[in-house]
């Protein structure tokens, strides 16, 4: 199948690949998907004292569209408040990357990853 130029660009040069220390304060981790489905995304955010996402990292096991979707959202969430980041929709991701119908689940997974990372961050804040 043919991939869009944007998918190819993110796949060839993924942005913000990496791992943050999950125990560090201000870090939230979201891991979604399952090896059985051929997709696992791990998205991490670092939130500053004003509640703004100052950094984001990802690692993804999955097809090119899954890698591109997660790479894209790390770019998008940086500089956003938690509330703004939580409003990113899978349809925005799918549109930006011109994903074909069979790849829509990749964008859904990326949206889930942001939400999971935000939830994880909030849970940690209320625990401490």
């Amino acid at each position: 199948m043919a991939y869009s130029d944007k998918v190819m660009d993110h796949y060839e040069n993924p942005r913000n690949v990496g791992t943050m220390d999950n125990d560090e304060s201000g870090v939230g981790t979201g891991m979604v998907g399952a090896p059985a489905c051929g997709d696992v995304m791990r998205l991490q955010i670092k939130v500053d004292e004003q509640g703004i996402i100052e950094d984001a990292k990802f690692k993804t096991y999955g097809c090119g569209s899954a890698i591109a979707s997660s790479s894209l959202v790390t770019e998008w969430v940086k500089g956003k408040s938690l509330e703004e980041a939580g409003q990113i929709k899978n349809t925005d991701i799918a549109e930006e990357l011109a994903l074909p119908p069979v790849k829509i689940h990749c964008s859904v997974l990326a949206e889930d990853a942001i939400k999971a990372a935000i939830t994880d961050y909030k849970e940690k804040q209320s625990d401490s």
């Binding site: 998907g33 489905c37 051929g38 696992v40 791990r42 993804t60 999955g62």
Partner: protein
Amino acid sequence: MSSPIYLDYSATTPVDKRVADKMCHYLTMDGTFGNPASRSHKYGWDAETAVEQARADVAALINADAKEIVWTSGATESDNLAIKGAAHFYSKRGKHIITAKTEHKAVLDTCRQLEREGFEVTYLDPQEDGLIDLADLEAAMRDDTILVSIMHVNNEIGVIQDIAAIGELCRSKKIIFHVDAAQSAGKVEIDLQKLKVDLLSLSAHKVYGPKGIGVLYVRRKPRIRIEAQMHGGGHERGMRSGTLATHQIVGMGEAFKIAKEEMASENKRIHALRDRLLKGFEDMEELYVNGNLEQRVPHNLNLSFNFVEGESLLMAIDTLAVSSGSACTSASLEPSYVLRAIGRNDELAHSSIRFSLGRFTTEEDVDYTIKLLKEKVEKLRLLSPLWDMYKDGIDLSTIEWAAH
């Protein structure tokens, strides 16, 4: 972009130039274009002579009698004709069929259809190496079993089933034995004077012949009967009607003739290339060979590069034409049913790549493949959270994943 290196010979092969050149002589006005069934003029007689020569050439590769060869449109039709044809003809004797979970879809879906018609089918689980345990097969046999259908060589993992032993077992119980040999002809010796195989499916396009032509071998001694699936002019002794495609048939005959002459030396060369390929990957971590490596055709290598998803790997190695057991592109998201049937977990099934080498593969192709794969697998593993977890010593099977 220049053409990728072709390493997908199990999907199809290019037509050998010698074959294509010969086929061209059976199409146009100045060639032998006649209908082989025309009995009243030279055009028909010449076409018939060409068809009968091709029949003899195909029969020679499998040591059969030319009268046992029935032309079809390919191995899928041959499988359908063999299984439905025998099941329908012998249904008064019983309605039970045995096959295996790793068979080609042409066999599995045909069996599913027979189930809808009231037949009962047992789908055997192969062992972890992909081979059928004869004891399992024997245990599945019943008084009303009429047919066993087991492929000679698996299309994904290349393992060779012991059809000699299976044939003996079937014959001793008077059960008809069908073999899908699409992937084995020209790679493994097939001697139907020795093998107790009753029906055998062949395809031309896996053996450097054209697409759209195949053969069903139907044994004459002891005589096997099948009910026709295609009705019409009574061609092929009533078993398969339809005007014979002379140029396709001539192509298959020539391809099989070349296979008989060159098989031994070609297999030796390709086997060495396959070993070179595997050796090149030997120092990689978390590399798995899918299927038995000894009981295997020389040109197939099916590997799982653990923690790397197959489709993303295919993207990274787009200068190679290979196939993957991952099915991320299909709506089902189900990985290879063959790898699942031999007990591979989902990660390994999603991480598999099938390399199939052939007549035009060179040492340079293999060396390039090794270098490229190593580089790209390493790159994708650095992107993979599963690889991280593996490196941290986390057992992935202990994690509760949210399936989606």
